[in-house]
């Protein structure tokens, strides 16, 4: 740290300056911590993290996520203040010890923050997915929220690790394989659903036929009872045909007008 101390060559004055720096740092850290807490509360972060594992963990040690984050920012600034004060007072025995640590600190802070948000996002995603699946009473479905959570955590861990400079090439390959498999699986398994949804979007936007029209799709003729994104329900003589919308595009549709 090349600070110009020429006007203050006197060692006593350096100590005074160091103490001043230390106190300024402590005050600043405290203030920023408080402002941060207010800011997080104003942004409704406390409500957003409700029910996640971090919030529960924080609760167990008698704090909340918001106060933990606020305190963390304060402590980082305190640490910097102490280091700068030591530097100003030239109390460090060997400069070389501090510089790598100080230089490394920002990456560590960012890595921790990324991990933190990764865990939060993972928990949130898990809650969201399980909430959406709650009405689906298939026990096997409980795997899905977990899978979503750990996928988010995995990506967050990768970013955090790359931030602190750990070699993650092998993990990247794993991630690529995972995402690739997911895309191929989804594309193959939901091919018909996707084409139906694309046709359904057209049908809903343009409405070539509506509820009450008599239509023939393929060999099924009847009165349209319902059109949604995936299927068209056509009823004829007490029989209700549930026809996937991609049939409308594949086979065409005849609107019967008498």
């Amino acid at each position: 740290m090349q600070v110009d101390f020429s006007p203050v060559l006197d060692p006593d004055f350096r100590y005074v300056l160091a103490v001043a720096v230390l106190f300024a740092g402590l005050a600043l850290g405290y203030l920023i911590g408080r402002v941060n807490e207010r800011l997080l509360l104003a942004l409704d972060v406390d409500k957003a993290v409700e029910g996640t594992s971090i919030e529960r963990m924080a609760h167990d040690i008698g704090a909340s996520t918001v106060s933990l984050v606020a305190r963390l920012t304060s402590w980082i600034i305190y640490a910097f203040a102490v280091l700068v004060a030591l530097e100003v007072a030239r109390l460090t025995v060997q400069d070389a010890v501090w510089y790598p640590i100080v230089g490394f600190l920002p990456s560590v802070v960012i890595a921790v923050a990324v991990l933190f948000f990764g865990v939060l996002a993972g928990d949130k995603a898990e809650l969201f997915v399980s909430e959406r699946l709650r009405s689906v009473k298939v026990p096997e479905m409980s795997v899905l929220p977990k899978a979503v959570k750990y996928s988010v955590l995995f990506v967050a861990a990768l970013v955090a690790l790359s931030q602190v400079g750990v070699a993650i090439d092998a993990l990247l390959v794993l991630l690529a394989a995972y995402v690739g498999a997911l895309i191929i699986f989804t594309a193959v398994a939901t091919h018909q659903l996707l084409t139906s949804a694309a046709s359904g979007a057209y049908l809903l936007l343009r409405q070539p036929y509506g509820i009450g029209d008599r239509v023939a799709i393929g060999e099924h003729e009847g009165i349209v009872q319902e059109v949604n994104v995936f299927v068209t329900r056509v009823e004829d003589d007490g029989r209700e045909y549930v026809l996937p919308n991609h049939l409308v595009f594949k086979r065409g549709v005849v609107v019967v007008r008498e």
């Binding site: 009473k137 809903l204 409405q207 509820i211 009450g212 009165i223 349209v224 009872q225 319902e226 009823e235």
Partner: protein, 270 residues
Amino acid sequence: MARPPELLEDVLDGIDTLLVFSPSGAYYDRVKDVEGADVVVVATENSVGAETFVELPLAFDDVKERIRFGIEGALTEGAIEDGDELGCAAPLFGDDIDMVARTKVDESRHSGIYDLFANSRAEPGVIRDVFEVAIELGQKGQKGKPVGALFVVGDAGKVMNKSRPLSYNPFEKSHVHVGDPIVNVMLKEFSRLDGAFVISDSGKIVSAYRYLEPSAEGTDIPKGLGARHMAAGAITRDTTAVAIVLSESDGLVRAFKGGELVLELDPEEY
């Protein structure tokens, strides 16, 4: 000195059937072999594997409504009979059962509301939403004046073919469903003009301002009701739809199914 449970003894003394609302598995295990009374489970789904089970199509918030609905359901399914003494155990404040009540089955108060929700073509939630709109409309009216409205729910394709437009359809190319927040306002606004609202099985509002032209032959509705009720009765006889009518003259909400009046509600009581 009597312990609190003993004070409640006469509430459940001499009942024929115990209706248990949404019990947990452990609670049902305790209750199923109870002596001296049959047990009927009433819940949105039979998660405890009960022998006699009445399905609630909606999770009623009001316990009184829930119990009434449960009794109607049990009566329709033949689990209880007219004149039976009933005990009801239900959750009121929490998720666990925390209250008991006693009532008597009265066939004459059978309103057909269970059948209307459970055995209709349209989804129960859609019928409930339409009821809510009709009741709200009945309470407030349009700008303070009483207003009438006719909603035909379900079997929309057939209803559309048995009706014609009175004016341009404000819901053309729109995809709004009953229960969407903004829709109640729209329905209220459009109820000012004559004609029926047509709503599909899934709750999509297909059209407003429809003039229903079913064959009214053989439709038997109570004397004194007007053309709106006659049209409602007739359309439900001709199709598998349900019609919910808000009367302009007496302010009551009535539901028709299969050409018959099945339910009459006073919006002021809600």
